[in-house]
Symmetry: C2
Subunit: 348 residues, 2 copies
């Protein structure tokens, strides 16, 4: 019998809410995940959601709707939902999961607010110091690389970075099916003597761990896909992520500039535009459909504000996958090694 | 009467030494800088330099040659020249400048070694805590942006970052002719409350300074050219630089992959290859011909290991420009504000 998986969607979160959220949910319901009986709860302004469903030409009976009067905006502080917006779509969606009514929660809204609200309402997995957010970077390999942390934790201690590596490794194994993911520490050189004190200390911890640690790698190694998981502090990771995300815009600008210079140039650009677009799509969130907040004691997925219906659908599938495969249970085991009793240790 | 400017070249430094160094020097001598009487000293293995000159079909009498028996390699530690290779081409070229025989020194060799050897032999400008190395990033504007530090200083205190901003501002005014360069702090958000403690403290210092400080900017603002100078610690800057430098390779890979899929694709790629190459050239050092070690009490220019003859020529021109315009004098004034005597202060 298929397992019931109930997912709460912050229907007001994204830049194109609630319409993209609704269309994404419809796509997910139509697709049917094997062995999963998907149920969707749309959380937000009931009136807007109902007219959005009508607009999307969908059946209103496909969804459960939970009304919420407030919206956390992209400009709100990370603590906004916790302090001032407890009747927001985000807060209430997370709460439905925290109460056990929903099995997972997704949002394309304010990342900082999603992280802090999820952390407070759902708690952390035992053994996790700080929940983290990763992001996929395109690579020359068949699959992308996970970079984490990308902004959740500015002041990252070695222990935090070590935990990011453990969680990233487990996550990549699950979503990409990579048996023994290669873990790298982002650094300014490959020698173990390189980098900040925090990075040097982290190097030792990773070296001594059971992870498939390939050592320090540099900025140039990321797009080459020299590792599956690249670990760094949230300051470095956030700047790198936003820099990488600006590449397509930069190239588009250069292409437009080139096209404006002659008719021949314009023709050429028209010809190659679809190709360029395809190459650069790897710098887009869309394909990967959001990332989970790793370390949170629940299944909380955050997506890009610009998430398309397709991206929302991917987020829903990802959430169902996390529920089905008990990602958090695996993280718990990895970060809470069994303490043997004295008797066991001595083999008595 | 033209001013004599004598430049010492580490002729063994680059990946294509000494041939690119010699060809670059020939280009510079042929070009003739107005009001400058350029003299070039090639430092390195005399035999190899002589045969290089022959190979380049150049007149041996154009150059002074100073023999050096050792070479600092790219894999050497930054302290290698100082500790073990005092008869290296790099050490001796810098020494010629330190002794006052040459007015400037350039190298396409080991950046770390060039920095530490220049700092020790030439000293620091008074008021400079740490010399720094910047790098130019392409932008959507008419000119590139300077990012610094890109690896010289891993542990950057607020005072260091402030000095980088001052030196970067003066340098950009001189080389790009920007009257009042916009200075930004690279951060994970625009609010002054964002970032690490070091960044927050630096924000205050820059805000209180006379620089044209435009505030915190994010990774996405760099290629847009939202500022002329982007300041960050050497850890972040180095990772960003190497990541950015890997972008052309990533696109080239994607293009090749695309071309391999059909004959039509291949044709298309052949057509647009020159255009793509042009767009991506901004990510190359070559155009800018190296960067000076800012804060060193002398004129010491470091270029990319892969420097072409054209890049070497640009480095020589840049060096002559620094000498002529007294960049260091301006940095000295900016970082050593005149202390007024009590009488002056009171206007007596």
């Amino acid at each position: 019998m298929p397992k019931k998986v109930r997912i709460a969607i912050d229907a007001m979160g994204g830049d194109f809410a609630p319409i993209n959220e609704i269309q994404g949910a419809v796509l997910a319901l139509n697709e049917k995940i094997p062995d999963v009986n998907l149920e969707i709860i749309l959380v937000g302004n009931e009136g807007k959601i109902r007219s959005g469903i009508q607009q999307a030409d969908a059946d209103v009976n496909l969804f459960e709707i939970v009304n919420a009067s407030q919206v956390v905006t992209m400009n709100d502080e990370p603590t906004a939902a916790l302090k001032k917006k407890k009747d927001s779509s985000m807060y209430k969606a997370i709460e439905l999961h925290a109460n056990g009514y929903a099995d997972a929660v997704i949002s394309a809204g304010n990342t900082g607010a999603m992280l802090s609200t999820s952390t407070v309402l759902l708690g952390r997995i035992k053994g996790v110091s700080r929940p983290t957010i990763g992001s996929f970077f395109p690579t020359q390999k068949a699959y992308p690389a996970l970079v984490l942390d990308v902004g959740a934790n500015i002041d990252s201690k070695p222990r935090f970075l070590y935990e990011f590596a453990v969680m990233g490794s487990i996550y990549i194994r699950q979503v990409l099916g990579v048996e023994n993911p290669k873990i790298a520490l982002i650094n300014i050189g490959e020698e173990k003597s390189k980098g900040t004190e925090v990075v040097k200390e982290t190097y030792k911890m990773l070296k001594d761990s059971e992870l498939n640690f390939v050592g320090n790698l540099e900025g140039r190694d990321m797009l080459q896909g020299a590792a599956d998981v690249f670990v760094c502090d949230g300051f470095t990771g956030n700047i790198l992520l936003k820099f990488a995300e600006s590449f397509p815009g930069f190239l588009k600008y250069a292409v437009k500039d080139y096209a404006s210079k002659s008719f021949l140039n314009k023709l050429m650009v028209l010809m190659v535009a679809p190709f360029l677009k395809k190459i650069l799509s790897g710098f887009d969130y869309e394909e990967f459909g959001g990332v989970p907040l790793l370390g949170v004691n629940g299944n909380s997925i955050i997506g890009h504000g610009k998430s398309s219906p397709k991206a929302i659908k991917s987020m829903i599938n990802r959430a169902a996958d996390l529920v089905n495969n008990d990602l958090n249970g695996k993280i718990h085991v990895a970060l809470n090694p069994p303490v043997m009793s004295e008797n066991n240790q001595l083999g008595k």
